[in-house]
Amino acid sequence: MTSVFWPSDVTRSGICYGWNHPEICVAGVLEVEEESHAHTLLQHVAHSTEGQALIKLCGTPRVLGCCAFSSLMRASYPRPDITMVSGQSWAYPTTYIYYRRYNTSSLRFYALGPNETHRFEIQDEYMRSSLKHDFSNTTTSPSVSNTGQIMVNQWNSAKTLQQLIEHKQRVPTVAIQEVNTPLQKPPKYLAINKKIHSTTDGIKFSKSFFWRFPSCVFAFLSEFSVVVQQTESRARKLRHLLRGVHSVPNGDVRLKSSQYIEFYSTLWIVLNDLIIGIALRQLLRQDRQVLMQFFVLNFEDKAVHKLRQVLLWLDSWPGGLKLNTELSRFYSHGFMGLIALWHRSFRTIIHFLPMLFSVLELGSAFGVTMTLAMVCDLVCVFMAHIQLCYLVSVTVYDHLLRLVASLWNLFRGKRHNVLRNRTDPWEYDVDQLLLGTMLFTLVAYLFPTVLVYYILFATMRVSTILVYASLETALAFMNNFPLFALMLRVKDPQRSPGGIYMRVEPSKDGNDVDVCLDSHPLPLSVTFGQYVELWKRLVKHYHPFRLVWYVMSGQVLDTIPRKYIHN
């Protein structure tokens, strides 16, 4: 019993043509009387450029035989009586597996599976080695491992082949034009597009100092400022948009579809961003006074006065804990001096607060991502005093910890061997031991004071980092959400296929079944794949355990480096 792939929309009799390698797949039916006519048509098509590209993907199409439909058939799927061409003896009855022929311009296609990367790595290793050592497997592995892909290409190009042949049949002398070109752009737009690209490329690659200096400054600033990073990634997106969708000649429909989806996905993200940004701008405009009042009242109170009170409290035996008076006084006065310095500059900035709000409003007109980026930067600027105090206290704490570790080794009679990176027993001189022990006791008694101040600033730094992290997460969320892919999955699942399956339906006359080829839509894990990756990186950097470990070991807490988020 041979099975033939039959297109589900073909119901007329005639000469059928298609491919017979690796399986018999009928691409269409020609209503001509003789086979030789069909042969000549196929040969003409095979010689054209379109035909050559098709042949490269699917193999050479041939005349397969002739088919006839009996007029009494009222089945839901066509059941032709097909007699194959000579050269193969087709005494076997044939069964049909129906597939749909999609037009290339509709961007629907079949695909064997999503392009997954790197799942099941460990399982892959085990299975590979077990397959290699499987001695009961006597047949050799199939060397034709891309027959699946060839068949999928055949199903996808069947409609194109039919259109080519019918065009040739209608107008035998004219050369075949490109059959469908979506998104044809007028020539003037192309010229402008080209000019924009050449200017941006020129700026990027120019050697002249006039352009190099701002771009160096830009690159330097983007390490610190989220606004600059955001502008850069948005500019890149817009540039990608301007490039538009290239028409891929002779359909690798998969490539065309993915380009289309990428283009519209970027467009949707940008437009979504702008719309929400403009709504936010209205909100900011209306509640401007309330927000400014709120900010002015609360921020100064919490960030400066409360902090000063806490420092004073720490200075005077906090909770009954007896700290070293001189060191504690030095610390608290030093930090209060730093805070006072910052407070003075804050006082001058506060006069410009209305202007700042106007800038924020202007930024939100460019999208809510710009607002988020600005808020990130403002958080950094307004918490600068805490950052400074934290850096000072973490340096002292870190040095103290290292000192304690080294002196502890001395106490036990050991030494850290830097060459071999291990702890070796070592003979110290008596005066070294004496000095070491004295230093150790000094440090041990001063340690609680340093620790207390460090804990204060570390907690403040952790809370700032968490606020910053949530803002960055929201920013990444807005920048990368695959809204278009989700909508496409809901609206037309055949345009984002994630695998094929055979659907078995009982036929209308009861006894038999029809087998049809269908597509699974792309699984959600693949649609959100990039998003999940980004989330994993963010969690890895801002994980609470990692933060706690860094606090305890005296390492500096920093925000996530730019290259992890903006790809």
Partner: protein, 197 residues
């Protein structure tokens, strides 16, 4: 078109159907009791005694729930969850073998008295199928056998897909399916004399 039960005495839940273009090995979600009495132990039930307790419980809590919206929503969610559980029981699972095209693993779920509501299918093309094996799995102190299709994905990583994943039938059923698939897909008729279990 032609449906047989290859193991009618010990495992009548396995049925083999020969269609023109493929062969279907279907395992239904019930089995015979292991004590030899011949009674059927169902895997998917249409109703159980606990379903009768549901209206009783509901009538008790209705007076309390009627007041607040949150409790009402919670009660509705609970009822919806129970309905969902009842309607997605596994009815039968099958392996469809298309001789030159590939194999397809299917799971049909639904309410036991009606037609299947949800079907999940996984088609493995013959060019990706490396082997079809019976694997031994260790679960606590037991050894369970399961059928697995070893296939390579488009990125050339090897993965396995388990056939009859939810029902996990006993070994004689697996052997029958294994022999059928080996014969049809890989043209390796397995000789019965070599199987020692």
């Amino acid at each position: 078109m032609q449906r047989t039960r290859p193991l009618p005495d010990i495992h009548p839940e396995l049925s083999v159907t020969e269609w023109p273009s493929f062969r279907e090995y279907r395992v239904e979600n019930w089995r015979l009791a292991r004590d030899g009495s011949g009674s059927i132990v169902p895997g998917a039930t249409s109703w159980e005694w606990i379903d009768l307790c549901l209206p009783v419980v509901f009538s008790f809590i209705w007076s309390r729930v009627r007041g607040s919206i949150i409790l009402c929503a919670f009660a509705v969610l609970a009822v919806a969850f129970i309905t969902y559980c009842r309607c997605t029981q596994v009815l039968h699972e099958s392996v469809l073998v298309f001789p030159t095209h590939g194999i397809q693993l299917e799971t049909h779920r639904g309410y036991p008295l009606l037609k299947p509501l949800f079907v999940s299918r996984r088609f493995i093309h013959v060019s990706f199928l490396e082997d079809f094996i019976i694997n031994e799995g260790l679960r606590r102190w037991n050894v369970r056998y399961y059928l697995a299709a070893v296939h390579r994905s488009s990125t050339d990583t090897i993965a396995i897909d388990v056939a009859f994943e939810n029902i996990l039938p006993y070994f004689p059923v697996l052997l029958e399916v294994y022999q059928g698939v080996q014969e049809l897909m890989f043209h390796r008729p397995t000789n019965n004399a070599h199987i020692h279990i």
